[in-house]
């Protein structure tokens, strides 16, 4: 198992390099450059502008620039935010816990809905429950996150006035009240993101369970006299989860996309809303860094999926 994880780690490094290359290419191909204002500014003599360009290596060959950028990123030197006037890595470190909390709890919610509903629907295919669940799942992943967010705000904040729709980082309460207020303002963002994922995952779980539930080894398990609960949880679910893990890992980029939208709707101060506000304010170092962080998170999730495979199906880790 340890060697398997190590091998997976070795595969993750080239993908990370590949992604950094894609990001850098996009940046290098992009028109405009950070010193264009200096050139057109009459107060700055051309030699100064030229010296600045040389100092920051803007005229170096592309490969040299890529190498410098990559080493700086790896050393944690992510540049300086033009707008917030602090280092980008400090800014991201301040914002990232909220994003991780939001994504983590919404995925947990999605799993808690998708696995039981999917399994139950698959054990009774084409029953009323299955049909209702399938329809709801279809609706769930056809509703774009921004529209679900608006609907929830309309209903819970404006109509019922139960939940706040603007996320506040500075809650003046202490103790239990503090946690309660935080919990209350997380409900809607987590629901929006979680319901979207739950819809897609319910379908995956259902069809994956359907694929294994009639296999011979399940019949064998039943005929050994095992209870239905043991058969489903120990024999069926574990094998059905393997394709589900693949699909969930493939969905990760979409989840981060959903997180950006959700944070933007509810003004959650995470890195998703940071990327939008930085774009609107032309804060390139922050935009690049956040994109890089999102890519790293996706790779990390793929790695996690690979490790989960090894646990779900020990045969995989021996190959």
């Amino acid at each position: 198992m340890f060697r398997y994880i190590l091998r997976r780690l070795m595969i993750a490094v080239p993908s990370l390099l590949g992604i950094s290359l894609v990001l850098f290419t996009v940046l290098a191909m992009a028109p405009g450059d950070p010193f264009s204002e200096l050139v057109s500014n009459p107060n700055i003599p051309p030699e100064v502008a030229l010296a600045l360009r040389q100092k920051f290596g803007l005229d170096d060959p592309l490969m040299v620039r890529y190498w410098n950028w990559l080493t700086a990123m790896l050393q944690g030197d992510w540049g300086y935010s033009f707008i917030s006037r602090i280092n980008v890595e400090t800014l991201i470190m301040q914002r990232i816990p909220v994003t991780l909390l939001l994504i983590g709890s919404s995925q947990l919610l999605a799993l808690c809905i998708a696995i039981p509903v999917g399994v139950y629907a698959a054990t009774r295919p084409y029953s009323i429950f299955d049909q209702i669940a399938s329809t709801l799942a279809f609706i769930g992943f056809s509703l774009p996150t921004f529209f679900t967010g608006i609907l929830l705000i309309l209903f819970f904040s404006i109509h019922l006035d139960w939940l706040p729709f603007v996320y506040r980082a500075d809650i003046p309460e202490t103790g239990w009240r503090f946690f309660w207020e935080h919990f209350k303002q997380m409900i809607m963002p987590v629901m929006v993101l979680g319901m979207f994922q739950a819809g897609a995952w319910t379908r995956y779980v259902r069809s994956a369970v359907l694929d294994v539930i009639r296999l011979d080894y399940v019949t064998t398990a039943r005929s050994k006299g095992l209870s239905e609960k043991v058969v489903i949880t120990k024999h069926v679910l574990r094998n059905a989860l393997i394709p589900v893990v693949t699909l969930v890992a493939l969905q990760m980029p979409a989840i981060f996309g959903g997180a950006i939208v959700t944070e933007q709707i509810f003004r959650v101060p995470g890195i998703g809303s940071l990327i939008i506000s930085s774009m609107l304010a032309n804060d390139t170092p922050v935009v690049m860094a956040v994109t890089f962080v999102f890519s790293t998170l996706v790779i990390a999730c793929n790695l996690l999926a690979d490790i989960l495979y090894g646990w779900l199906d020990p045969r995989i880790s021996y190959h």
Binding site: V22, S142, P144, A254, G257, V261
Partner: protein, 312 residues
């Protein structure tokens, strides 16, 4: 297959009722598609939306940018069936116009995604060894790119230049379509490659090869037509995904300029006035939802129609 249950009821085996086999594959698929009742209903609904968007502006002749401060943020009425926005502009006219753009973006982005995906998948599937391995590495790399952040990044970096080059509307359209299409080809490429790997070894392709068919002819005449089923399904889903992606961009305020009212853009403008003008946000949102839902159901029906495990 040890009695596995099929994923949807329509493929459930009806008893083989001795149908003549001279039906073309297309008609066979259509016959199976018709059995998925919801998909048929959704096709009708989607057809209605497309027709309304295409022909609507000729029937409903209210200009999309007629400002009327006496009718600001009004709910639905006979003069304005879907109400008005904060400048008193007619929402029905704006949504009909915006629908053209949303649907056009969806279709064009889908075409790009499918073409790139089919080409990459076909090359990978036909060539063995390093080319295949490299193409699949690139595909997996693109699959693990975070799409929305990258979409936003490319948009952010290239928007101004393209706007200057070919005008604000065409520039944004080209960029949106290219970026959305360029980030969605990977599943298609994998699908096509998988199909190619199995079809390539089938007897009928071997026969063609034995008769001296060139690789190009093998691909275009023998393999590709047989691999199209899953591609058509993926194409349908891609239209829906592209519509969502475009609406998301517009909703974040980064898509089309404000004077082009795509559905996402109307929603973006409406979200700050939700306490006074609910209809303004509800109608475009519901329209995006219904369009995406119907397209997804049609994709589901098509999947049944092209299911390789189908029983007649």
């Amino acid at each position: 297959m040890a009695g596995s249950t099929l994923a949807s009821p329509t493929t459930e085996g009806k008893k083989p009722e001795v149908t003549p086999s001279n039906h073309s594959p297309g008609r066979e698929a259509w016959r199976r598609f018709k059995r998925h009742k919801l998909a048929v209903v959704c096709s009708v609904v989607l057809g209605f939306i497309v027709l309304a968007v295409l022909l609507g502006p000729w029937v409903w002749r209210v200009p999309i940018n007629e400002i009327d401060f006496n009718a600001r943020m009004q709910g639905p009425s006979w003069a304005h069936p879907l109400g008005t926005d904060d400048l008193g502009q007619d929402l029905l006219a704006r949504m009909l116009y915006g629908g053209r753009i949303s649907l056009a973006v969806g279709l064009a982005a889908m075409l790009i995604a499918i073409s790139v995906g089919v080409v990459v998948g076909a090359i990978a599937g036909m060539s063995k060894g390093p080319v295949d391995a490299f193409l699949m590495w690139v595909t997996d790399l693109f699959l693990s790119l975070p799409q929305l952040p990258l979409l936003l990044l490319i948009f952010y970096l290239f928007n101004d230049t393209l706007k200057k080059m070919i005008g604000p509307e065409a520039g944004v359209f080209v960029l949106v379509v290219a970026v959305i299409g360029g980030l969605r080809w990977m599943p298609v490429a994998r699908l096509v490659r998988a199909q190619f790997l199995t079809l390539r070894e089938k007897e009928f392709v071997e026969a063609a090869r034995a008769l001296g068919a060139s690789p190009w002819r093998q691909v275009t005449v023998h393999i590709l037509p047989n691999a199209m089923g899953p591609v058509i399904v993926a194409a349908t889903i891609d239209v829906a995904a592209a519509i969502i992606a475009e609406s998301t961009l517009s909703f974040l305020g980064l898509g089309f300029p404000p004077d082009i009212p795509t559905w996402g853009r109307i929603l973006f403008d409406a979200k700050d006035h939700m306490d006074v003008a609910v209809h303004w946000a509800l109608f475009p949102g519901a329209l995006i939802f219904i369009t995406v839902l119907t397209i997804n159901y049609i994709g589901d029906g098509l999947r049944d129609a092209y299911d390789p495990r189908r029983v007649l």
